[in-house]
Symmetry: C2
């Protein structure tokens, strides 16, 4: 999508992606080696009743879905940050995730007309419509035509 196609209030649906135990283990061993993310046996006996994905893994998959559905062919050049992030319920091996991103605002900077700014409210949902992640984000777009 191009910046001009994003409209206030638009709902972008992305995904699904299914996450495997091997992916959960690979991500967590690199980035979040806590036992409930890396040790299936101990996790099965622990409070979560099984292995759960690192919340950062869920965020990364949300990003992948957003890129595939909306950003990959846009003028996007980055993000200054996020608002609040909420991990609502654990993601487990075999879960199928999808992303619903609501465009809260799409505008050009008043001081820099070649800068597009989109604010989003994103929600990752798994099977049975259970919400697993909520976050607000900002994306920046280069409208100069130079990149």
């Amino acid at each position: 999508m191009k910046f001009a196609e994003f409209k206030d209030g638009m709902l972008i649906k992305a995904g699904p992606v299914t996450i495997t135990e091997a992916e959960i283990l690979e991500f967590a061993r690199k980035f979040d080696p806590q036992w409930f993310h890396t040790d299936p046996k101990r996790a099965a006996e622990g409070r979560w009743g099984g292995l759960i994905a690192s919340g950062w893994h869920t965020c990364a998959l949300a990003m992948r879905m957003a890129v595939d559905a909306a950003l990959h062919d846009s003028e996007s050049f980055g993000s200054p940050g996020l608002g609040e992030v909420r991990w609502r319920t654990p993601v487990r091996p075999g879960d199928t995730l999808r992303l619903e991103a609501r465009v809260q605002g799409a505008r050009t900077s008043s001081s820099r007309p070649d800068l597009g700014i989109i604010t989003w409210s994103g929600r990752v949902i798994k099977q049975h419509d259970e919400g697993v992640l909520e976050m607000d984000a900002t994306s920046l777009f280069d409208l100069s035509g130079e990149n």
Copy 2:
């Protein structure tokens, strides 16, 4: 560290880790396949003057540093979420990152004495003391002795 060792105002220093071009490409091709994260040649000609890491990759490395320095031997069992996240300046191949996490509050839940709650303010800094990431986070600890 154990929950009881975290004190209000404590500064935890973690890292460093050095990020390579291969790692930036591997992460981005999986989770954030935008050209400025995945295409060194196009990125060199673009506004960033070279490849930059996905902001999610920086977050994931911050988590790894926090686990290694403070969480791996604690009673940590997860997080409900984050406050604001700010990506201040790009992370590039060869950058060396470290984490400074300030304990804003360490308390037990008033209604559940077996639940420990720590709020943090984290900052990732690269060489020359340049800040690249800031975020506030909450971690939960199981003080029941059962896990």
